[in-house]
């Protein structure tokens, strides 16, 4: 059921690192545990997601691939708690995540899950500092403002962002800067789980490699689920999971994934 593809791409340096990392994480606790997970938007249609069992260890960096409409984004929404499973269970960091109340899930997500979107999705009218501090605010952690500011500056340093951008509006930044700010926002609360949804789809090869190096560097020991339909990316990760193997029963549904939220709203 689990598909772990050892990297055999041209990125040999990443392979070596990933191999060591994979060996180390086998000893660790489970970060994500999915069992009998089913999700569908309408009862008439077959399930979008149908996963019997799937586990991701703490600190593991997983590459999740699949064609458009294969249910990648739906699975990420389920893991984030923005969608609730129709059947089955999701446990995150040893917590019965799918059994939590909406409020508890929101709080859990804010504190433990960092998300980097496909289009980085910064709130355009907020400054860089406000965008990142919003994540701190919603997490409601007891971190002092001084500590939070120090963490922010540390992250900016690591992401090679000048502190001058802090007061710039998000929509005034270049794409590269937006990428970095999105990563900073995802990591500001030290999440144990990092979900990255196709952030490199619009980047050329050089920019993609640069982005991946940066992401791997700052992600550290966080468990990471990285979604892309570009299989060439798998060399950066500990293992590769294909949606077609994870959720085989929905292979015949090709377009529902992208349309899913709209369909649910209509329902």
């Amino acid at each position: 059921m689990n598909t772990i593809n050892k990297n055999n791409s041209t990125h040999s340096q990443h392979n070596a690192v990933s191999g060591d990392h994979s060996a180390a994480i086998k000893e660790r606790n489970t970060a994500i545990e999915v069992s009998n997970l089913q999700f569908w938007y309408t009862k008439e249609s077959p399930p979008i997601i149908d996963i019997k069992a799937w586990q991701v260890s703490q600190g593991e960096h997983v590459f999740l691939s699949g064609p458009s409409g294969s249910g990648k984004s739906t699975l990420l929404n389920l893991l984030c708690g923005t969608l609730t499973p129709t059947q089955g269970d999701i446990a995150l960091l040893a917590q019965p995540f799918s059994a939590l109340s909406n409020r508890q899930r929101d709080k859990f997500r804010a504190r433990n899950i960092g998300v980097v979107f496909q289009q980085f999705n910064l709130i355009p009218y907020l400054s860089v500092a406000q965008n990142i501090n919003a994540a701190v605010y919603f997490a409601s952690t007891n971190v002092s403002k001084t500590a939070s500011d120090a963490k922010l500056r540390h992250l900016l340093d690591k992401l090679q962002l000048s502190s001058h951008v802090l007061h710039a509006k998000a929509d005034a930044l270049s794409i590269g800067q937006q990428q970095r700010v999105a990563i900073a926002r995802a990591l500001i609360n030290d999440p144990q789980l990092l979900i990255v949804d196709e952030p490199t789809s619009a980047l050329d090869t050089d920019a993609r490699d640069s982005f991946m190096s940066l992401l791997k560097d700052v992600a550290g020991e966080s468990t990471m689920i990285f979604v892309s339909h570009d299989k060439a990316m798998e060399s950066y990760f500990d293992r590769h999971c294909s949606m077609s193997e994870l959720s085989p029963s929905k292979n015949h549904i090709k377009t529902r994934g992208d349309e899913a939220p709209k369909a649910q709203e209509r329902a």
């Binding site: 998300v115 289009q119 999705n121 709130i123 994540a135 919603f138 949804d197």
Partner: protein, 438 residues
């Protein structure tokens, strides 16, 4: 943080936000203006007369008697005979009595025949006595005292002579030319109908009507005064002289055949109802006594319907503006779906987003209310002289009272309710907002 997001969000949509802000500001200002005018008119209205315990006249109607005696509007149907006045005067419960004789005019202003007791006992506002801006009360039978508005609009000063006309028209062909009255005093501005009335002695009024000449010695108990000589006094001595003259002239000594209305002041106010009953039941002459406070309340009730209507219309305008606010927020929801999804993913719960939309609506209304308060205060301050000179409306402090606070609170409550529509839309959207926000 939420308020920062709300403020930045509004700044992002500043054109629509400013237009909405203007719309709400104008509507709240309108409502506050109506409320202030209503409150001030009511205050002005109720302060027209105070300290008068009973008003007695011929049986007609409570309002008719009040309008004719206090507001100088209309005339009583019939007069009160002297014997009845004498009976009232001799009543042990009565402390003082002001006779009023109505029916004449001077260049469109009402002429009221009375005695000096009017200037001694009539009170307005919070028991404020009438004060003279210049001169004094009646100093001789053909004295007249004019209200502040008349003196200002007609340019009168103490010593000027005026002619009164028979009847109530502003233009009369029946002038009492042979009985010119000399202005002995000008009453300080009161903001009541007193400002627009000409007060003459009952004696002078009767002489003007009957054409007889008064015998000053018989009434005044002094030798005829040389009027020309009287007004040669220096200005600084004027008041003293008038006071002396007034002391010498006893306007109450004249006994008219009848008067239109009598105002009574009682020794003990608690006896007002008892005396009212006695007067109303009197079989000697059919009379009617009214309690001015009750009559004023009844009159205000009638006028109150109009102000309630105005207030209601203004309230509807505010509701329309608030619906406009909700529409603006709803219209921007589609462009905010991505933002909602992002906020949701970084940990904002549905209720947080509901709150965010409501904070935006509340911010707009609070700023509008603050702008309205400033605008109305400025407007009223600028219009104060015009309102007092044109409508006799004196704006008293504080301008914003309890009703203004209630109005603002109600508007905030309405804002909360109407903003629920876009807020619930955001909430519903939030429940389905996922990572693929684009």
């Amino acid at each position: 943080m939420l308020s920062t997001i709300a403020i930045e969000s509004l700044k992002r949509r500043k054109t629509t936000a400013i237009l909405t802000l203007l719309s709400i500001t104008i509507s709240i200002s309108l409502l506050l203006c109506v409320d202030i005018i209503r409150t001030q008119v009511k205050t002005s209205f109720t302060r027209t007369v105070s300290g008068v315990d009973l008003i007695v006249g011929a049986p007609s109607g409570q309002l008719n008697l009040l309008l004719s005696s206090v507001f100088n509007i209309g005339t009583p149907t019939k007069g009160i005979e002297f014997k009845s006045i004498a009976a009232l005067q001799s009543n042990k419960q009565v402390s003082w009595l002001i006779p009023l004789s109505l029916g004449d005019t001077h260049r469109g202003f009402r002429v009221v025949g009375t005695t000096n007791s009017f200037f001694d006992h009539f009170k307005y506002g919070d028991m404020q006595s009438l004060e003279m801006a210049a001169g004094s009360a009646f100093t001789q039978p053909l004295s007249t005292v004019v209200g502040a508005d008349i003196a200002k609009s007609l340019g009168y000063k103490v010593g000027d002579k005026i002619i009164i006309s028979h009847g109530l028209g502003s233009v009369s062909f029946n002038n009492h030319d042979d009985h010119p009255f000399t202005i002995s005093g000008i009453v300080k501005k009161t903001g009541t109908p007193v400002d627009k009335a000409v007060y003459v002695t009952l004696q002078g009024l009767e002489e003007a009507h009957t054409g007889s000449k008064h015998s000053p010695t018989s009434i005044l108990g002094r030798k005829p005064a040389d009027k020309a000589k009287e007004h040669e006094h220096e200005h600084e001595h004027e008041h003293d002289e008038h006071t002396k003259e007034r002391a010498a002239y006893n306007s109450e000594a004249f006994t008219p055949e009848s008067v239109s209305v009598v105002m009574l002041g009682l020794k003990h106010r608690v006896t007002a109802l008892q005396l009212q009953y006695q007067i109303n039941q009197s079989k000697k002459e059919p009379l009617m006594a009214i309690l001015p406070g009750m009559a004023l309340a009844e009159l205000w009730q009638i006028m109150g319907n109009v102000e309630s209507l105005l207030l209601g219309l203004s309230g509807l305008i505010v509701i329309c503006a608030l619906i406009g606010l909700a529409t603006m927020l709803l219209a921007t929801m589609r462009e905010r779906y991505q933002e909602i999804a992002v906020l949701r993913t970084i940990g904002a719960g549905p209720f947080t987003l509901l709150l965010l939309i409501q904070i935006e609506a509340m911010l707009l209304t609070i700023v509008s209310a603050a702008l309205s308060l400033g605008l109305v205060a400025g407007l009223m301050s600028a219009l104060k002289p015009w309102l007092s000179s044109t409508y006799g409306l004196f704006l008293s402090s504080p301008l914003f009272g309890q009703s203004s606070i209630i109005i603002i609170l109600l508007i905030l409550g309405c804002t909360y309710l109407v903003s629920l529509f876009p807020a619930v839309a955001a909430y519903r959207r939030c429940l389905h907002a996922g990572l693929n926000a684009n």
